[in-house]
């Protein structure tokens, strides 16, 4: 019987220990299959916990970070009074939201109304499972990594559409329709940029893509392909911002126009889930950007032996998260600087600018490969 296995040191460790534990079981149950099933189950639980920890754990940190970054851009201080410099402010927010009254508006489709925030959460969680956080820290080493990400990413829009439609509110509906149109359009650019990465690195496996960028900074995708790499990175940045519904592309929420878009009618915990999903998507998209363009967990070696020696001593996972948080900071700076385009302008930007440029990128990438061989 085939049982999928999780390949990382912790997985091996579990596999080693499971036969010893199984020995205590009655004879009739012992055997190869039992061992591998139990080992898989334990590994799976560990993986789920790890993904949840990374995702849900990072959300309060990100919310705090966002509030501080925006405050400092705007010449103010941000949360200050709860904990040192307001560090535990977001914990209070989350707790409060959990204890709020939950109800659905009159005329809402209740099942879908409560299902929507759950659906929104699925996509970022699934992507997180595919990201290699370190040399051995990877939940699922899938060969078809990039296509899977492209496929899963579409899930988010379903949740938003359902949430907006089931709320029985015109503002919500408009918000969700805008968001649907926007995400489906930008999916194309998103996929094309990732295709460029796949083309240049020659693999759809995220681990292999990362390993292809080993070495110095010059080997990172963003610098590996002169100019085109950087351009692709910018394209990815724009497309992923739109995918995440983040400002300046937050026309789905557009507080000034639609008071809150698709989540106008959500209270308490369901609203917290939308909020959470937004920030988890931020982590996963940044992680994807880091994996595809910024060398993943590789240290930013610069070619000098002495410096590189020190840099390499730091574990890869720390480099990875350092890069992820740098990316997140970039997303935040953009969010608090730019104003929001109109819905039709956003569409024409995608179809008239992003798409042609991405096509050219692919052509350029092909030319680069042809020349370099």
């Amino acid at each position: 019987m085939y049982v999928p296995s999780v390949t990382n040191p912790i997985g091996d460790y579990v596999r080693e220990w499971v036969p010893q534990l199984v020995a205590y079981l009655p004879e009739s149950l012992q055997g190869e299959t039992t061992c591998s099933v139990i080992a898989f189950a334990i590994n799976a639980i560990i993986c789920i916990i790890a993904v949840c920890l990374v995702n849900i754990g990072s959300a309060p940190i990100l919310i705090y970070m966002e509030r501080k970054v925006c405050a400092h851009v705007q010449c103010r201080l941000g949360p200050m009074r709860l904990g040192w410099h307001g560090t535990i402010q977001t914990i209070a927010d989350v707790l409060k939201m959990l204890f709020k009254e939950v109800y659905s508006p009159q005329g809402a489709d209740k099942k879908l109304f409560y299902l929507a925030p759950l659906i929104v959460l699925i996509a970022p969680f699934m992507i997180a499972a595919l990201i290699p956080f370190g040399h051995n820290l990877l939940v699922a080493n899938v060969d078809m990594g990039i296509p899977l990400i492209i496929a899963v990413n579409g899930f988010g829009v379903l949740g938003i559409l359902l949430g907006g439609w089931s709320s029985n509110n015109k503002y919500s509906l408009m918000g969700s329709l805008r968001s649907g149109a926007q995400m489906i359009s930008y999916e194309i650019s998103f996929a094309l940029v990732l295709l460029f990465v796949v083309m240049v690195s020659g693999s759809t496996n995220l681990m292999e893509i990362t390993n292809g960028q080993a070495g110095t900074v010059a080997n990172w995708m963003i610098f590996k392909v002169p100019v085109l790499g950087f351009l692709a990175f910018i394209m990815f940045f724009i497309a992923s911002t739109a995918e995440m519904n983040r400002a300046p592309f937050d026309i789905a929420e557009a507080e000034q126009e639609l008071t809150g878009g698709y989540h106008t009618e959500y209270t308490g915990t369901p609203f917290a889930m939308f909020y959470l999903a937004e920030y988890i998507a931020l982590v996963t998209n940044s992680a994807l950007a880091v994996t595809c363009f910024l060398g993943g967990f590789h240290a930013p070696c610069i070619g000098f032996e002495s410096v590189d020696q020190i840099l390499l001593k730091v574990p890869g996972v720390i480099w990875f998260f350092a890069k992820v948080y740098f990316m997140i900071w970039c997303y935040m700076m953009v969010r608090w600087t730019f104003v929001r385009p109109r819905v039709d302008q956003l569409m024409s930007f995608e179809w008239k600018f992003m798409l042609p440029v991405n096509m050219l990128l692919l052509v350029g990438g092909a030319a680069y490969i042809a020349l370099s061989i």
């Binding site: 103010r76 307001g86 204890f99 809150g260 609203f271």
Partner: protein
């Protein structure tokens, strides 16, 4: 309100459960008290101070309250910033009902506490938010400083920290203060006290008078010396107006209008004979100072033609309508149409006396339309909303107006507020 409120029921029978309940209380209250998300709501001046408090200088984010939610479903605190009018009150109640509990209301500014500047002689303002919502914290001021608002937030925080699972948050009660007249209440209370005091003191006073028959108070109130200021004539303003006046002079304007429309006169000028009248009018126009505006009076029949004339006449070219308003006199209305020429910089006010319709019965007069006048909204687009305002406030109907509806008040509102005979059960007369 949520599972937390069942905690005492389940945990209390268990030994030591009380401590768990207390711990839960502590955590929940800590979270609620420190994460207060206000609703984006504001109607007038206080809203600007509320905005200021969330801006860089004062930064409400320090309290974790910068998350102003535009949707009531995600808000915890309703900062009532600005006057609440009778027309707005249902909307406010609805907003409050849409907020999920536990929710709190902070009344910011004098208007929401008591009606503020609009307590007396007012027909449209709700006297205090307590009439429609249960209010938790009051922040007096007009408008309160951002710091005062923060003090209100801290006061609210104290209040939240006192909640427990056993005595959880519940919707408070509203109070009917709509007819509360603080001044008269206080005066009445004092008058009663005074009566008692008079009786008690009568003896002592008589005794005192006997003992000190020629008592003179040693107390001399010291008047504050006020700075002396020179008397200044209005020269500068008048010379300024003279210098800047271009276009037609007042006399020319009057002459041209008089030639065209026979009914044109100047307000207050009367004479026996037409010749004397003309002379008196010319004198009155000449007597107008440069900083005043020529206001000619003409009959309602000539009104539309006159407006058309001054708009199209190349010498006048009154292309800009400043305003349309009216005045209510005991026996007639006066409709004032203020016109201006942007090019020639001269102004002209047309004053049309409108006789009140006498055929309407006395008891119905206050609530019915008493006069009619042709509309000028086809000449000046601006007149459309201005005439609606006059209709709403005075009950003067404009014939030929496309959309003659009330503009500021509900369609069901009875009476026309700016008439002198207007009465409303919600009005309290000014006591002083």
């Amino acid at each position: 309100m949520g599972i937390i409120n069942f905690a005492p029921k389940i945990l209390d029978p268990i030994p030591g459960g009380k401590y768990v309940v207390n711990a839960i209380d502590y955590v929940v209250n800590w979270a609620r008290a420190n994460s207060i998300w206000p609703l984006t709501y504001g109607t007038s001046c206080c809203a600007i101070e509320m905005m200021s408090s969330s801006m860089a200088r004062y930064d409400i984010a320090r309290f974790g309250s910068e998350v102003f939610r535009a949707s009531p479903r995600q808000a915890d605190l309703f900062i009532l910033a600005g006057t609440i009018t009778r027309r707005m009150a249902p909307a406010i109640q609805m907003l409050w009902e849409q907020m999920p509990g536990p929710k709190y209301v902070l009344a910011m500014g004098a208007c929401t506490i008591s009606g503020g500047p609009f307590v007396y002689d007012n027909y449209s303002v709700v006297r205090g938010a307590q009439n429609i919502l249960p209010v938790d914290v009051f922040v007096p001021g007009c408008p309160p400083r951002p710091e005062a608002l923060f003090h209100g937030l801290l006061t609210l925080r104290e209040k939240i920290l006192k909640e427990t699972c056993r005595n959880p948050w519940h919707e408070g009660d509203t109070q009917d203060l709509s007819q509360l007249d603080r001044y008269r209440e206080a005066a009445k209370a004092w008058a009663e006290l005074e009566k008692i005091k008079d009786e008690e003191m009568a003896e002592a006073r008589a005794k005192f008078k006997e003992e000190n028959p020629d008592y003179k108070s040693s107390f001399k109130p010291v008047r504050v010396t006020k700075e002396a200021f020179p008397e200044i004539a209005r020269e500068h303003e008048i010379s300024l107006a003279e210098k800047s006046s271009k276009g037609l002079s007042k006399a020319d304007m009057f002459k041209a209008l008089k030639n065209k429309f026979a009914s044109v006169t100047i307000t207050g000028v009367t004479a026996e004979t037409p010749e004397a009248l003309a002379e008196a009018e010319t004198a009155a126009v000449a007597a107008l100072t440069a900083d005043s505006v020529l206001e000619v009076r003409l009959n309602a029949e000539d009104y539309l033609a006159a407006v058309e004339f001054v708009k199209n006449d190349p010498a006048f070219k009154m292309d800009y309508l400043i305003d349309v308003t009216a005045i209510d006199y005991p026996d007639h209305f006066e409709l004032i149409t203020m016109l201006k020429s942007l090019e020639k910089k001269h102004q002209l006010f047309l004053c049309v006396p409108l006789a009140k319709d006498e055929s309407i019965a006395a008891e119905k007069r206050a609530t019915s339309i008493l006069a009619k006048v042709p509309s000028v909204s086809h000449l000046y687009a601006a007149a459309e909303i201005k005439e609606r305002e006059v209709y709403d406030m005075f009950g003067i109907k404009f014939e030929g107006h496309q959309d003659m509806r009330r503009i500021f008040l509900d369609p069901e509102f009875e009476g026309f507020p700016l008439r002198k005979d207007f009465t409303n059960p919600n009005m309290i007369k000014r006591p002083v």
